[in-house]
Assembly symmetry: C2
Homo-oligomer: 323 residues x 2
């Protein structure tokens, strides 16, 4: 198909569907050529029972990789053709233990002949092929088991978007965004405290002039995330990580992590040895980021914010750079 040259590999699903359709249609014709009263969709089930085994419905489903209702329907069809015998499971009365009838086994035996011929035919195709479809399918199944396509796309998107994200030091024009982004998450669960308002309204005076820092994440030039390093009151810590906010619209793209990393790097640049932060266990994504950055939960909790219920610290690697 010329079309798929243009779509690129994104259309792999459509392309697979087309080929599947085609092969299934031929399978039906092949069966009728052998005077087999059998539908292509029966194949996996008949194959699973062809040695005369007795199996439960869900067991067959698991084996052939389909859902149990689909197997259930196929079995109903086999039954109506007199190809099936059913017994009660010896111990478990929920089970519907099915096996092929003599008639069904006869069908299976004919099917084996058909299979041999189909196998031969497929080999004639495969012999003229430079790329092994069978092995390729195997590899794809295996790789998708390892990590589904969805996750891989998520990762690709993150990679791409990361390049559109820029972490810059705070400038006065970022104040409205600094305020808005923080107000957003705080008021979603709690009330703004007096200290919040002071810092959000006057970041220069309240944070920067006191030896702190603010970092801003720009996405395509627009501020979508902020993060502050406050000079710590506690002499045990150098900075407190606070006012950490990422716009909900931009969440889930790794921007928070980038921002956090930048903050830790900034602290390190300023010679910090230990960072502190206070947060709330309701804020799952934030905690996830903190842990990824290396923060460890403190055992003892001494509250500072009304909304806090967890405190964490990070011991910075004393990177004795030799360069």
């Amino acid at each position: 198909m010329d079309f798929f040259e243009r779509t690129g590999k994104t259309a792999i699903g459509s392309r697979l569907r087309l080929l599947t359709e085609r092969i299934t249609a031929d399978a039906a014709r092949i069966y009728s050529m052998y005077d087999l009263t059998m539908k292509p969709k029966w194949f996996p089930v008949v194959f699973a029972l062809k040695e005369g085994e007795t199996k439960a419905v869900t067991a067959i489903a698991r084996e052939i990789g389909q859902t149990h209702p689909s197997v259930s329907v196929i079995l109903k069809e086999l039954r109506s053709h007199g190809l099936l015998v059913e017994q009660e499971h010896p111990t478990d009365r929920r089970c519907n233990a099915v096996a092929l009838s003599d008639e069904g086994l006869r069908l299976a035996r004919t099917l084996e002949t058909v299979c041999r011929d189909v196998e031969t035919a497929i080999d004639t195709v495969a012999a003229r092929t430079r790329h092994d479809l069978w092995r390729a399918l195997e590899e794809w199944e295996c790789l998708l088991d390892e990590q589904p396509l969805l996750d891989r796309v998520k990762e690709a998107r993150r990679q791409r978007e990361r390049q559109l994200v820029e972490i810059v030091p705070y400038r006065p024009e970022h104040q409205p965004a600094f305020r808005r982004l923080n107000v957003e998450w705080i008021t979603a669960h709690w009330q703004l405290e007096a200290s919040d308002l002071r810092q959000l309204d006057h970041p220069r005076e309240e944070i920067l002039d006191r030896g702190g820092a603010i970092l801003v994440a720009l996405y395509r030039g627009a501020p979508v995330g902020v993060c502050a390093l406050l000079r710590s009151h506690d002499p045990h810590y150098d900075f407190e990580l606070a006012k950490f906010a990422v716009s909900p619209l931009a969440q889930g793209r790794g921007i928070g992590l980038l921002l956090g990393e930048a903050a830790v790097a900034e602290a390190a640049k300023r010679g910090a040895r230990r960072l502190f932060l206070e947060s709330n266990t309701l804020l799952k994504p934030a905690l996830h980021i903190y842990r990824k950055l290396g923060f460890r939960e403190l055992d003892t909790y001494r509250p500072a914010y009304a909304r806090g219920d967890i405190q964490m610290e990070l011991e910075l690697q004393t990177e004795t750079r030799n360069e």
Copy 2:
């Protein structure tokens, strides 16, 4: 899937279906991850229209390799989402010329971003793969275009069955089969003639003792085809090919051709230069075999049988063997 290790490649259809299902399911999740209100099945249609082209329904169907009703339904869905504009075709009023609306084009543009990420993700899979699925699909499509699977299986079956067929010289115990098989086809369209009965009842006296020959095709040991070489009255010909019959149950498996080839070979062995036969144009499969054997139709027709309406001859290659 371990199951497909056991089925062998015959289950290629089932295996493809499984992978298709899986990828399509992920595609749906991917779209929703990008907040795209779009179903995977829309993809080919949207792609075909993404540059703002106006196209007819069947034209799209042809392009994407699906049926027009399927496209028609997809277009209905796009329409209900306000993604489509329809114009009347300038000259042909049957045509429903459709294009994406501004909204639709916006969707297509977002889709392009998604495609880029999906492409990247697929490349990460492909990079870890030793067999190229994309190319393999391409090759399969191409080879199946050339000759469908059905034909290839038919050929494989013929090859296999040929090995179960044995062509042997006539022996007295074959007389009932020789009679039965010929009576079968003759009486299906015509009446038995006196000469028929003489030959069928007394093949030794009427055919063999007069310098002719009879060959029998055995399928798993049972006679399913017969063919006679009659000494010719006409001095121009050495033998007449006649009493050629293959059981309807065994037809379409190349047995007739094998029998014919054996008869021609037998004639050649006996030093024949020219063969003759008389048949009827109603007997399509037989004529097909005769032509394959190299028989040419005679222009002039001089009837010998009441059921004849065509006469053919074969000039044998004078194989001057040097061995």
